[in-house]
């Protein structure tokens, strides 16, 4: 039960303040500003307890969103709500900025009234919200339309209205993954996991029934046992083990529990079908090999080699390697064969950027760092080298096997639907110790 929601700008001025419950007083607004936004020490915990009041905050660029409660709520629920709130606002007016919030504050209050009721989250589906909260003036809605909204919002399938028609039935499916890694200097994987999302954009007519299939190990194994004709060895290799997953509300969970099949009536437009996490057999797209040598007290030689580890036909993009430098760096010389490298003093790091890189290649950078002798005996902590990239495959190994669409009432079949599938693997926290 969220007691209230506040939005602040970077100075701590309140832009939006909506209180849902009586137990949250006016001073709660100031308490958060004083203790978190203007805190002398930067507050790192997203949850802050001030005078028996809990504040849950997220930050979007310079904007702070804080949910307040005096009760013992489920923190995950509150954050899920805050993220949804951000999504909804982005869907309505684009980037969340002070300017945009000020321009749309009537809309935001309207949204807040709708998606939270007495502190309990309600419908936060953008598509559904857009049917009755509009940015234009009030349309002369007929009675029919109004009753349709009511039946849709209160009905069983709240995320899709009836009577949608498209000339072209199209479907876009994105598998977005972020791969996280911590590797020792010797190349030993200390921890690695992939968190992925399946995002769908559907432009389908009527009330279609969809079925989504992927190379989930459990499903494949079951089929391997059932259909004896399949080669068990082959299917085993191709399948992945999913550690845990969550679904959009449209997915029929009972069916997933019993048959592990993902079937649903999709909302119209863009939505996130599922989220998952894997930890086994991850394809690491890049390998970073650091070499740091201290030459005397005033010099440091760094050599970093990166190797791409995927099919040569694929191209990785937006590669960025960040090599931290000691705090007493007084000068840096960099030589790299590919891309551009620069010493960024404000971030205490050498940033090496490569636009594109094909698979099974390697590239290296070497730098000479000059140090200023200090009287401090403190040794440099050697933070890990981190990396950013984007690759056109799923590092978890997930493959979409099928996405079938059935619409019995309208006469289009699965074959008539145009389907697009795309895989994007991004780096999460991808670090190698040096």
């Amino acid at each position: 039960m969220i007691g209230g929601l506040f939005i602040y700008n970077h100075k701590g001025e309140v832009l939006i303040s909506r209180v849902y419950r009586d137990d949250i007083g006016r001073n709660a607004v100031d308490a958060f500003r004083v203790n978190v936004i203007h805190a002398r020490q930067q507050v790192r915990s997203p949850v802050t307890n001030i005078a028996r009041t809990s504040f849950f905050h997220v930050k979007r660029s310079n904007i702070w969103l804080a949910a307040v409660t005096k009760q013992n709520v489920n923190a995950a629920m509150v954050f899920e709500f805050l993220y949804k709130m951000c999504d909804v606002m982005t869907a309505y007016f684009g980037k969340i900025s002070e300017e945009n919030i000020k321009n749309n504050f009537v809309l935001i209050y309207e949204l807040l009234d709708e998606i939270l009721d007495f502190g309990y989250p309600q419908n936060s589906e953008t598509g559904a919200l857009k049917t009755f909260i509009t940015q234009q003036g009030i349309k002369g809605q007929t009675k029919e339309e109004q009753s349709q909204i009511t039946s849709q919002v209160t009905g069983q399938i709240g995320w899709r209205r009836e009577g949608i028609k498209y000339r072209r039935n199209e479907l876009f499916l994105d598998v977005l993954e972020s791969v996280n890694l911590l590797m020792s200097p010797q190349g030993q994987v200390l921890s690695a996991h992939v968190s992925g999302r399946v995002v769908m954009k559907s432009y389908l007519s009527g009330m279609p029934e969809c079925k989504f299939g992927m190379n989930d190990k459990i499903v494949i194994d079951k089929q391997g046992k059932g259909g004896a004709s399949d080669d068990p060895g082959k299917s085993g290799k191709q399948s992945i083990a999913i550690d845990d997953c969550t679904f959009h509300q449209c997915v029929r969970l009972s069916k997933f529990d019993s048959e592990r099949s993902i079937s649903f009536i999709p909302p119209d437009g863009e939505y996130e079908l599922m989220r998952y996490r894997t930890t086994k057999d991850i394809i690491l797209p890049f390998r970073v090999i650091p070499l740091v040598r201290e030459v005397g007290r005033t010099k440091l030689e760094v050599k970093v080699v990166i190797k791409s580890n995927f099919k040569p036909s694929l191209l990785a993009q937006k590669i960025e390697v960040r090599i931290p430098t000691p705090l007493n760096t007084s000068g840096v010389q960099v030589i790299c064969m590919k891309g551009k490298a620069k010493y960024k003093a404000s971030e205490n790091a050498i940033v090496w950027k490569i636009k594109r890189m094909a698979g099974m290649k390697e590239s290296q950078i070497s730098a000479e760092i000059e140090l200023l002798p200090t009287n401090d005996k403190k040794k440099w902590a050697r933070p890990p080298i981190s990396m950013n990239f984007e690759v056109p495959f799923a590092p978890s190994g997930l493959k979409v096997r099928y996405l079938k669409v059935f619409e019995s009432k309208l006469n289009y079949s699965d074959h008539d639907v145009i389907k697009w599938v795309r895989y994007i693997g991004r780096s999460g926290i991808y670090e190698t110790r040096c």
Binding site: L327, A345, S346, L372
Partner: protein, 962 residues
């Protein structure tokens, strides 16, 4: 000082600072700072030398970054380089950096010290000042070590500029305050004193701070400053306001200097030289006169400066305390301030008057302002001023105005602030007692006090009333009557009930003649309050009831009925239940004679310092009140304690001032004397014996009907040793470890080790029950002459022993000389409310300090013959108590601590041992011969020691062993 020219503006620094100010977030600020740091690093690292300007700029930036809260670990070297620059601004920034970011790097310190030394020896006054400021700002021990000898030289050198002298004096003051041991007195000290004569007022002002500080530590060396200060003061005071030009502040000539001079004079007694003294008195008079003059300006600064001097002068007058004329004038002046508009002035006036009141000369003068002060107490808006007014009333109180003051304070108490109520209550109580002429007034006052501010009346206050009432026969009847009346109020404070219960229980008979306060009425009145009171008060009331039974036999039935009712006899509180049960039994079993003896009237309390006074002192902190208090007590003599008899002398007062008795001592005083009140709580063990079969360890005193209370030992004293204590002792002659004592409740284990004349004993107290033992205490005592023979040190044990738990106590034993008695161990604890008291003998015997000695047959007999005097030998023939097994005997003899010598005695059946007993004062050689006779089952034991008492004691001890 050279003005900062426009070119020194350091644009880069300004830009950087405005950048930082414009940062929108913390992260942006950190980024900007990182960038700047990298830039500065590359600049400092760069091969080409930086010019002074950029060096200064970067050092400034680093300083700014450091002050923002970031770590700076470089740039020190550049800052040190700046010190050697010839430009003022560069040098200044260098010094600034160094005094802010002192680094303990030894290399750097050397460089810094070098630069400072150069500047100090330069002729440029601004550079010298910069260096001196840096030393003072850092003020570290290293700095003091390096420059403590240098600065006095600069200070007294003839050619030093005035501004440098000023800085040097303040710098030296700072070094002296941080490390006084390094600033050595020397020939410069006398010359420093002469700085008081300096032409430059600034130098004098700086020097006087230094001199005041120094003279507080070594008054004798600076004695000469008194006359100089006086002459300086008179010059300032008598000067016209325009003479001093720069040093005249709102028409007041040199106010700061005057205050400092007056304060310096307060370090010394009045000058002996008549001329000097005359001059000083003149000055003080002038100051007092000036206060009367109409103000030259309406500005607040003018009056502040004037009053500052005046108050300092008044505190000097108070300090001297020898000029009645001045004291009275000061007092009158303060009297004027009492009605001043300015709250601060009123506060200060009240505070100074407090000290004036204690002076014999001005006491009367202070008293004339009583009306004003009382008025202040009532009408003042500021609580701190009211508090001062209350203090002053307390200080000015004497016999003549006591009644008025006490009445006023009492009436004020009703509206007083909560923070000062308790203190006020104590003050009223003390004044009432101290100046009581007739004690009915005293009783009235205190009862009023309890009525008005019952919550703030501490235990001590009502203890004290009772003590005084009991000690004075003439007031008892009146007290009983007043208390009785006070209790008739529908709601009265618990403290009132306590006092009432106690006094009616003692002296209710004095008012029983009146039918309005007949015994039954009294009892009913008390009992009507009973249910509203807390447990301790109820306990006290129960004691009052049993006293009633004694005083008025006609109430016996009623009271027994009350005691018998379930809410008493089955009360969940152990204490109440026990009292109810015991009193009920006591009243039904004991005859009237016994009752009368047991429940006799309280004996008078021994005279002692009022515990209230002690409490007030503790509240105020040492020194705050004690001085005036001490003087009061000098004047008032023995008035303090219980009035009439001039009991305690001032020496005793002084003694008790230093160690105030704890309130519990007083409580004990009341309790141990209270005949019945004490019974359940402290004489518990006895009563437990009477009424129940519990308490196995309690001394089994003979209980008979006539006077069982009188025959019992006072329970707070240690019980007599157990009858089996000696047996227990014998068990341990030949062994060091084992169980010393055991009963149903307690087990005491022992473990001990001895080396030469020292021993260590571990006692293990095990609680065998499942209930915790409360107030568990153990004491080891050495009775009689043992005190000089044995030294036993113990550590106190935990007062709580949980059920089933064991606690340990370590005893350190030192044998000073030979001894024959054993030390006593007394153990006291409460087991389920009943006091257990147990005394044991500690198994420390002389043989524990044996050192075995090996010797040959020849040596043995030679020594045996040497110890042939009849006293030195002790012999005993006795029957064997145990079997005459050879191995057992050998083990025992070894356990004794001696060396068992083989092949010495011609008869192999006999045992021969030798050893030296180590005591602190001497060593006693011992030879032993044990001749068993297997047929007759007899032994003959012969001991020869170099000391006769030892032979006898050992012989006694050993005869029990075989």
């Amino acid at each position: 000082m050279p003005a900062v020219s426009k070119g020194d503006g350091m644009r880069g620094l300004a830009v950087f600072i405005s950048d930082i100010r414009n940062c929108k977030s913390k992260e942006a600020e950190i980024k900007r700072i990182n960038k700047e740091l990298a830039n500065i690093r590359s600049k400092f690292k760069g091969d080409k030398a930086l010019d002074g300007y950029s060096k200064k700029k970067y050092v400034c930036k680093l300083l700014f970054i450091f002050l923002l809260g970031h770590d700076i670990d470089f740039g020190h070297m550049e800052a040190v380089n700046l010190l050697s620059s010839n430009k003022y601004t560069e040098k200044q920034i260098g010094y600034l950096f160094i005094s802010v970011l002192v680094n303990s790097n030894s290399e750097l310190i050397r460089l810094i010290n070098n630069a400072i030394k150069n500047d100090l020896s330069s002729r440029n006054p601004t550079f010298m000042c910069l260096a001196l400021h840096c030393i003072a700002n850092v003020g570290s021990r290293e700095m003091a070590e390096a420059f403590a000898s240098e600065i006095p030289r600069i200070l007294v050198a003839g050619d030093t500029m005035d501004s440098v002298k000023q800085s040097a004096a303040l710098c030296l003051l700072r070094l002296y305050k941080t490390s006084p041991d390094l600033v050595l007195m020397g020939e410069w000290t006398s010359r420093v004193v002469h700085l008081l004569n300096d032409q430059h007022m600034g130098v004098v002002t700086a020097a006087i701070s230094l001199i005041t500080c120094l003279s507080q530590k070594n008054p004798d060396e600076f004695k000469t400053c008194v006359s100089l200060a006086v002459s300086r003061l008179s010059r300032i005071v008598s000067s016209a306001s325009t003479d001093l030009q720069d040093y005249t502040y709102y028409f007041v000539p040199a106010p700061w200097l005057s205050c400092k001079l007056l304060r310096l004079l307060q370090c010394y007694p009045p000058p002996e030289d008549g001329a000097v003294k005359g001059r000083l008195v003149e000055c003080l008079e002038t100051i007092l006169n000036k206060a009367q003059e109409p103000p030259k300006s309406k500005k607040v600064q003018h009056s502040n400066a004037k009053n500052a001097i005046l108050f300092e002068a008044i505190s000097l007058i108070i300090h001297y305390d020898s000029e009645p004329n001045l004291l009275v004038r000061a007092c009158n002046q303060l009297g004027q301030f009492l009605q001043h508009r300015e709250t601060n002035l009123r506060y200060l006036a009240l505070e100074s008057m407090c000290t004036l009141a204690s002076s014999e000369f001005s006491h009367e003068a202070v008293k004339t302002h009583i009306e004003t002060v009382i008025n202040a107490l009532k009408t003042e808006r500021d609580v701190s001023v009211r508090q001062r007014a209350a203090d002053l009333l307390y200080a000015m109180c004497d016999r003549s105005n006591a009644k008025q003051i006490v009445a006023e304070m009492l009436s004020y108490l009703e509206t007083a602030d909560y923070s000062i109520r308790e203190e006020m209550v104590l003050k009223v109580a003390i004044l009432a007692e101290k100046y009581a002429i007739d004690y009915s007034w005293y009783v009235d006052t205190i009862l009023n006090l309890i009525r008005i501010a019952g919550d703030y009346v501490s235990e001590e206050v009502w203890y004290r009333v009772i003590q005084i009432v009991i000690n004075r026969d003439d007031v008892q009847g009146y007290a009983a009557k007043t208390v009785f009346e006070a209790l008739q109020a529908p709601a009265c404070h618990e403290n009132m009930v306590k006092v009432g219960g106690y006094i009616l229980g003692e002296f209710g008979n004095l008012i029983a003649g009146d039918p309005r306060s007949s015994p039954l009425v009294q009892f009913n009145l008390l009992h009507s309050k009973f249910h509203l009171c807390s447990v301790p008060t109820r306990a006290l009331l129960l004691s009052a009831y049993i006293k009633f039974i004694n005083l008025f036999p006609e109430t016996k039935a009623t009271i027994q009925e009350v005691l018998r009712c379930d809410s008493q006899i089955r009360n969940s509180d152990v204490e109440l239940q026990q009292r109810a049960v015991e009193y009920l039994k006591l009243s039904s079993i004991a005859s009237t004679d016994v009752l009368a003896t047991v429940l006799e009237e309280m004996p008078p309390f021994p005279e002692r310092e009022s515990s209230i006074l002690a409490k007030l002192k503790k509240k105020k902190g040492p020194g705050a009140v004690s001085v005036t208090e001490l003087e009061d007590s000098k004047r008032e003599g023995g008035e303090l304690n219980g009035g009439g008899d001039r009991g305690p002398d001032t020496a005793a007062m002084a003694a008790s001032n230093t160690s105030t008795p704890s309130p519990s001592a007083d409580l004990l005083g009341i309790r141990s004397a209270a005949p019945v009140g004490a019974a359940p709580s402290s004489a518990g063990s006895l009563l437990v014996d009477v009424f129940s079969e519990a308490g196995p360890t309690a001394p089994s005193a003979a209980v008979n009907d006539d006077g069982f209370l009188s025959s019992a030992p006072p329970s707070e004293d240690p019980a007599p040793p157990l009858s089996e204590a000696d047996e227990l002792l014998n068990k341990f002659v030949c062994k060091n470890n084992g169980v010393l004592f055991e009963n149903q409740l307690l087990q005491i284990g022992i473990k001990s080790e001895y080396r030469q004349n020292l021993g260590r004993m571990y006692l293990f107290y095990g609680n065998k029950t499942s209930v915790q033992f409360a107030s568990f205490t153990t004491t080891v005592s050495c009775p009689g002459e043992l005190q000089s023979q044995l030294n036993v040190q113990t550590k106190p044990v935990e007062p709580l022993v949980e059920g089933g738990a064991q606690i340990q106590q370590v005893l350190n034993i030192e044998c000073l000389s030979d001894f024959s008695e054993a030390p006593l161990l007394n153990i006291k604890f409460r087991y389920g409310g009943a006091l257990q008291n147990l005394t044991l003998k500690l198994p420390v015997t002389i043989n524990k300090f044996f050192q075995p000695t090996e010797m040959s047959s020849h040596d043995f007999f030679q020594r045996w013959k040497q110890l042939s005097q009849p006293q030195q030998e002790a012999q005993k023939i006795f029957k064997a108590n145990h079997s005459m097994d050879t191995e057992v005997l050998k083990a025992k003899l070894l356990g004794l601590g001696t060396a068992l010598l083989d092949n010495v005695d011609p008869n192999p059946e006999n045992y021969v041992c030798a050893g030296v007993i180590q005591t602190k004062s001497q060593q006693v050689g011992c030879l032993l011969r044990l001749e068993p006779n297997a047929q007759a089952q007899m032994y003959r034991l012969t001991l020869r020691c170099s000391k006769d008492s030892v032979s006898r004691r050992l012989c006694e001890l050993l005869a029990q062993q075989f």
